[in-house]
Amino acid sequence: MKFGVVVFPGSNCDADTLHAFRVVMGQATRFLWHKDHDLRSVDCVVLPGGFSYGDYLRSGAIARFSPLMREVREFADRGGLVLGICNGFQVLLELGLLPGAMLRNKNLKFLCRYVTLRLENERTRFTHQGRKGQVLRIPIAHFDGNYYAPPETLREIEDHGRVVFRYADAEGRPTEEANVNGSLHNIAGLINARGNVLGMMPHPERAAEPLLGSADGRMIFESMISKF
């Protein structure tokens, strides 16, 4: 599979994400410059973490107007695989490719730490190598990861099983204590109706190699490169 990692001014995790797909997973991976109008025939577009445009105005608010986002939207509309990680997730929300918005963390501080996630939906192109209820240890690092959606939207997301990851305790229970940033329904990651666009706040590229502390993020990458 061919992967493209979009680079915005201020993206920080682009190199980490490229490393995860190219070196760790052995996939053909390249950078896609935000000013271009060319997705270079990749099979999957990844929007990496970071502080695109310094998080000015709102995280992801300016990046969503980058020239390449026109092609990314068309690609998504055609069913192309799109993964948004952290700031990438925020860009997808600003683009409207996923519903909802991000607020400041409930503790009003930037938070970098490992969290445990519960895999809620294993029937997606991003998680089919996992088991429902599986507990994953993946780190977060964000200031604005407090997921919000209005009640009807939230209901629709839940009714259709579009929540993919929830913040949970070590036993997989989505408790209040495990909800480190205050997200509604402990939502850490969700998928669109069509099932081709996933946004997640935790960083799977930081949990792809055991020597860094956890390789639980690999399941996502393995799912993406194997047949669903």
């Binding site: 001014p9 201020g10 920080n12 995790c13 190199a15 980490d16 490393h19 995860a20 070196v23 000013k35 973490g49 970071g50 502080f51 445009y53 310094g54 998080d55 000015y56 501080k109 930037f110 938070l111 970098c112 730490r113 780190p139 690092a141 200031f143 960083h203 590229e205 930081r206 190699e209 020597l211 860094l212 502390g213």
Partner: protein, 737 residues
């Protein structure tokens, strides 16, 4: 004849003024006075410290660049170089904690990438007044937020550091920021203005009125009007700096520039003067061409502004187009503002008139070097001679208070605000003895630690200097790394006071002695004087940043107990020394005594023992003993234990119980090994003449320490850990009114 008030405002002495006049052959105009004021400030010129810094050992294996450039460089093999340095941003952080700390981070990052290295890690050494005071809490909160905001945004992980609290830092907090970068051999760039006729380009953010005379402010004591200095604090934009990093690394990668220097302290003046001074050339610039974000700026303001995120680049005329294209790609200004000229002068134009015309050597190289009067520090008195130290009735309670004392307590509240994982290299996260970063594509790893106990330095500066080096290297040994180079940040009071100069002289002598003994070169560093307010100085605070190499990532060691029934072995000797200890301060309210003795040869032997054991794969864990002594080290190993295992230790008699538990004797490391590995470990120690003994085993749910069978403390791990974890967050809980 110049008005003495103007001279005083510029922090120049009449003697210095006379020297300026003789160097340039006439009286300087006001703009030129401003130039000299900034460049001859203590912060920029090192005029009070240069004489003593000369004794630091700077030569060593692998040194590519020693002191004198923006950062030091060491060759670590396989075509890779590490570039690193530590800088202080103390005075601005008292005035405006958030921006003071943020721009401290910005500044040290620029010192690294200006040499062609990609920054891969930040660490910071912070000192604040006690947290009971709202003002001190506010400063700490601002500083941590500032570091967090800048480091996270620019995508360089803040992977470690240290934080101390003491009343002497209340009005003079310290913010020392260290940065490490990675570069390729033969791809280093220097601050050169070579090639007569070459173009001088200004790149980065526009110039505003922030930070004018920042360097001068950092070279004087605080007084009653400190608040008014707020405009002297620079304002940072990490997003701009991220673009700057990428653009600069790109022009360097393409080899289209001759020289580059960041605009830090003393702004445009500093780079415009230093680059030609280093190259034996001169420079001509036109201030009308400098991108400005304020209207009506005077030459004085433009030259001395410390607006952030700006660099000065020298490039051949035929390469200017390419340089500008690359900066334009990153949406950054890149403007030709002058050229390299012959004659060794700095000529600055504004509205068609020459406003500065001075020899660059006068500005950069000919600042007087002072050998200020020195009063040797009084030898410390033994604490027990000053007043008896009663043994506490309840050692367990004292132990709890130590664990909850902010200097010792858990620092997660701080480091979870820092992205410490970005760049996916961090193998050992904050909270261990040293940060460890893997090197992609290699089996090696880098380790970094910042250390400095200022109470020891206050009591005996020479010992404090030696111990700073010893402790930093000991921390490295505990993760399995050998030191390769050192940078130092020397924070002191007013050098015009003989007792401060005496402390400085002794501390530097101690640092030198230890670096020579451990055979590690000093590649550069920073001196921050004038950390006084209204006559009261900080304790002498030499902070050491040491970088080391781990040969193989499989042999990295961490401090937490790993398995029940592992043997706990203590390397080194418990002497029971209590002078200058955290225990004496917390339990008895005293900061006196003789700091623990340091025998550099013994220290090295202990470190080598730990390293050999680590490299042989014998160690399950290793943790050095420092503040709080043996009891705190054992507790920290339990807290870091993935299984939250406790320990049962039994030590020899002979010492008072409090001295045994909390004494801060140097050269000690607490390691754990599988029982079968004990003989091999003891053999390694014996070979080096290092005292080593099995003192107990890992296991149970408590930290139990006995002396000859008599239990001194027996505290459940969970309860002790809770007190240790909650101490600092408790100070920052949002209070209901």
């Amino acid at each position: 004849m110049i008005d003495p008030k103007i001279l005083a405002n510029h922090n120049l002495t009449p003697g210095e003024y006379d020297l300026i006049v003789s160097l340039i052959g006439r009286e300087p105009n006001l703009t030129e006075l401003g130039v000299f004021s900034a460049m001859w400030s203590e912060h920029c010129s090192y005029k009070s410290s240069k004489f003593y810094l000369k004794q630091l050992p700077t030569k060593g294996q692998g040194v590519v660049q020693g002191p004198g450039e923006n950062a030091g460089i060491i060759d670590i093999g396989d075509g890779q170089l590490i570039v690193f340095k530590i800088e202080s941003h103390n005075h601005p952080s008292y005035i405006e904690p958030f921006q003071g700390a943020a721009t401290g981070v910005g500044g040290i990052l620029r010192d690294i990438f200006t040499m062609g290295a990609r920054p891969i890690a930040l660490l910071d050494s912070l000192r604040f007044g006690p947290l009971d005071s709202p003002k001190n809490r506010s400063i700490m909160e601002g500083v941590v937020s500032g570091i967090s905001s800048y480091g996270n945004s620019i995508g360089v992980p803040t992977v470690g550091g240290e934080i101390y609290f003491g009343e002497n830092y209340a009005l003079n907090p310290l913010v020392n920021v260290f940065c490490l970068g990675l570069a390729e051999k033969d791809k280093i760039f220097y601050a050169k203005a070579e090639g007569i006729g070459n173009a001088v380009l200004y790149v980065g953010s526009k110039t505003g009125r922030d930070g004018i005379h920042g360097a001068t402010m950092a070279s004087a004591e605080f007084g009653k009007e400190t608040e008014h200095k707020r405009p002297n604090v620079q304002v940072g934009d990490p997003f701009k700096e991220k673009l700057l990093v990428e653009a600069c690394l790109e022009v360097m990668d393409k080899g289209v520039i001759v020289g580059i220097q960041d605009m830090g302290a003393a702004g445009l003046t500093c780079s415009a003067a230093e680059m030609p001074a280093k190259s034996g050339t001169g420079i001509e610039i036109d201030l009308d061409l400098v991108p400005q974000r304020e209207e009506g700026m005077t030459p004085y303001e433009i030259l001395l502004s410390e607006s952030q995120e700006r660099m000065l680049i020298v490039a051949r005329p035929d390469k200017v187009g390419e340089v500008r294209e690359i900066f334009a790609k990153w949406d950054l200004d890149a403007v030709e503002i002058g050229r390299v000229i012959e004659g060794g002068r700095m000529k600055v134009r504004f509205h068609g008139e020459i406003v500065v015309d001075v020899p660059v050597s006068a500005v950069v190289d000919l600042c007087p070097v002072y050998k200020r009067p020195v009063a040797p520090p009084a030898p410390p008195q033994a604490a027990s001679d000053v007043a008896p130290i009663p043994v506490p009735d309840d050692l367990g309670a004292v132990f709890g208070r130590l664990l909850a004392s902010p200097t010792i307590a858990n620092k997660e509240w701080v480091f979870r605000q820092y992205d410490h994982m970005v760049q996916t290299n961090t193998m050992v996260l904050p909270g261990a003895d040293a940060a460890v970063l893997r090197l992609k594509g290699s089996r090696k790893a880098l380790a970094v630690s910042l250390d400095g106990n200022s109470l020891y330095a206050q009591l005996d500066p020479r010992t404090g200097g030696k111990i700073a080096v010893a402790e930093a290297c000991r921390n490295l040994a505990c993760v399995g790394a050998r030191p390769v180079g050192v940078t130092n940040c020397l924070n002191f009071g007013n050098p015009e006071k003989p007792e401060v100069m005496g402390q400085f002289k002794e501390a530097v002598a101690g640092l030198s002695e230890a670096c020579l003994a451990f055979e590690i070169p000093v590649t550069g560093g920073n001196v921050s004087f004038y950390n006084d307010t209204e006559g009261a100085s900080i304790y002498p605070t030499p902070v050491l940043g040491v970088v080391g190499l781990v040969k193989d990532i499989d042999r990295v060691v961490t401090p937490g107990f790993k398995r029940e029934d592992d043997a706990v072995v203590l390397l080194g000797t418990c002497t029971g020394e209590l002078g200058g200890s955290e225990y004496l301060k917390v339990a008895h309210g005293r900061e006196d005594g003789i700091p623990p003795a340091i025998d550099l040869a013994k220290e090295r032997a202990v470190q080598e023992t730990c390293l050999e054991a680590a490299e042989s794969g014998l160690l399950a864990s290793a943790h050095d003993l420092s503040e709080g002594g043996l009891a705190v080290a054992a507790a920290e190993s339990a807290f870091a234990s993935p299984g939250r295992f406790g320990c049962r230790l039994d030590l020899d008699g002979g010492l008072r119980p409090d001295a045994l538990l909390f004494g801060e004797a140097q050269s000690r490391i607490l390691v754990t090994v599988g029982p079968a590995a004990v003989p091999a470990l003891l053999a390694i120690a014996a070979k080096r003449g290092v005292p080593a003994a099995v003192v107990g085993e890992v296991g149970g749910a408590a930290i139990r320490i006995a002396q000859k069978g008599a239990v001194l403390i027996d505290v459940p791990v969970d309860a002790a850990r809770a007190a240790w974890m909650d101490a600092i967050p408790a100070y920052f809980k949002i209070r209901e009114r």
